[in-house]
Symmetry: C2
Subunit: 333 residues, 2 copies
């Protein structure tokens, strides 16, 4: 006798099987055995990332399940993008309070629509009863020599970000009643919060061009610091240069600043590249159809014992004190 | 400012780093970047499995955290064993109601003690607040030609199981008050339930010998059926030959039978091998220091349209009706 959760497994497995290429390469093995079998492309390595999403911490209980399916995979694909890896496959484990068919249809539709777009195959998983919790582990292929790491920023590098920052946090603030906006802007912010677009094409195009990269999930101020700490460098950032949408520009200036610098949930790429590579970066961005903006410069630490830090400045180069304390974002841990 | 959950991440990352070999092979990358980088051994593939454990469904709230750390990884290593894969690495994502230091110390000690024993490196993870939920994804290396799959059982094969079955379910029954036992037997059953030993060495030794294999997590009756369905074969099993511990033999006969056939949580291997390989199987078991027992035979389906099924019989070969309906095990989905 199959329980409802075994039936869910079968539903996802069927959908996954329908997506498989008719002649899968070699001896790859998907759902249905104790393990899946997977190999990176010849000469490459697997890039692997795992994320757990919990109701109330990473999304609201009333989120559209289609959007949740999209976002759960998108945030993982964003980690692959940040390594310059080509998506290959993912596993999905989730616990659900009950097997609600409409919810599962919406969720799986959002999930598989994005997976298909990136040729990313569901190769295994686990489903169980319990409070709503989603755990995806994603696999991409990348040549280790050109993987975009965090520990390879160089003094003198430009600092770039893709797209615009802050819209997702503006959307969260709307839902929390922290500020208000008109209907069009609400739609823009909500789209950013619920349906982030992983910058996979940009990550691939930046192989061999960018020195260091990561994806912005916790906000620029905190995430850029990860590059600085791992690379033992400092940074100077022009706060006014940080790109923001027209919708965000209609919110109060201090809200704009906090949303762009500490908003979280952006899933844009932040990367460093030598000054000599500016044209190559612009060409990569054009190829990937994603705008990129220079926002600052990597600096050497004055002394090896100095703590890596970000010096914020305005467009004229004057130092700026930026207070982000107490401004939380969605997944504050 | 780091939240308590970021601090937990750091705690696990430090412990993982301390375990890393001083000169990790090539360009592997562990915790601290957007993704880990991992490759199987030359000419091999990665075997990948993911399991999610939820409080109340897969373990009791009052479980010793050391035992939980052990078991969470053990059930995943058991999936690698069932493929004949050599453990390489794992990712750990978990949500916790609060960051309790004593609990985390016990949990991580149980986890890393087992990980060290199998040279299995923690390469990434995610920690968040929320109801207790553990999701481990494990990676092993296996030559695809000799991976132990489920769909390769052949008519005439012997059916084997490792170790003894049913003790974990006996332990669950004790905790639920379904039956009682003396103190020594209670310790035996509890050990089986909380600290299963993945049969990694046996899986490796069976490469090229066994035709098909899986690990027993949901009980022999249900799990063997997975091999039969995937291989389109039937099976005949001698119920009295299914190995059980001395402790289990002291419980009533009908409890023994249900625990061994539908107990779940055994994490022993069930595998098929040709009759001509009996000596080779015994030698592999000896090499791995794990007893193995022949319990039945794989048969051809009478017609291609027949449903694969298990014919239960007793030691004299007489057919036996075995009723397992309504006998649940710990993770009933």
């Amino acid at each position: 006798m199959l329980s409802e959760f075994s039936l869910i497994d079968r539903f996802f497995a069927r959908r996954a099987a329908a997506l498989r290429p008719p002649n899968p390469a070699g001896d790859t093995l998907g759902i249905g055995d104790d393990c899946a079998l997977l190999a990176p492309r010849a000469g490459e390595m697997l890039a692997i990332s795992t994320d757990m999403l919990v109701e109330g911490r990473h999304f609201f209980a009333d989120i559209d399940p289609h959007a949740l399916g999209h976002k759960a995979l998108a945030v993982n694909l964003s980690d692959l993008a940040a390594m310059g890896a080509q998506p290959q496959a993912f596993t999905l484990a989730f616990s659900l309070p009950k097997a609600d068919e409409a919810w599962l249809c919406g969720f799986s539709e959002g999930l598989f629509t994005l997976a298909e777009r990136y040729g990313c195959e569901l190769i295994g998983g686990d489903t169980t009863g319990g409070p709503l919790n989603l755990c995806i582990t994603v696999f991409g292929s990348v040549p280790p020599q050109t993987a975009l790491r965090r520990d390879t920023a160089q003094p003198g590098d430009d600092i770039w970000v893709s797209g615009t920052l802050g819209d997702a946090r503006a959307g969260l603030g709307l839902q929390r009643g922290e500020w208000s906006a008109d209907a069009n802007d609400i739609a823009t912010f909500r789209q950013a919060l619920e349906r982030p677009e992983p910058r996979v094409a940009l990550g691939l195009a930046l192989r061999g061009i960018a020195h260091a990269a990561l994806d912005l999930s916790d906000g620029l101020a905190g995430d850029l610091l990860h590059i600085l700490e791992r690379s033992s460098v400092g940074a100077s950032v022009d706060v006014d240069a940080v790109p923001r949408s027209a919708a965000l520009r209609r919110l109060p200036h201090d809200v704009q600043q906090r949303c762009t610098l500490a908003g979280g949930d952006d899933y844009e790429l932040c990367f460093t590249a030598p000054v000599a590579a500016r044209a190559a970066v612009e060409a990569a961005a054009h190829k990937a159809s994603v705008p990129v903006t220079r926002i600052g410069t990597i600096s050497a630490l004055a002394a090896a014992t100095d703590r890596p830090a970000i010096a914020w400045r305005n467009a004229t180069g004057a130092p700026l004190t930026v207070t982000l304390q107490g401004f939380d974002h969605f997944h504050a841990e």
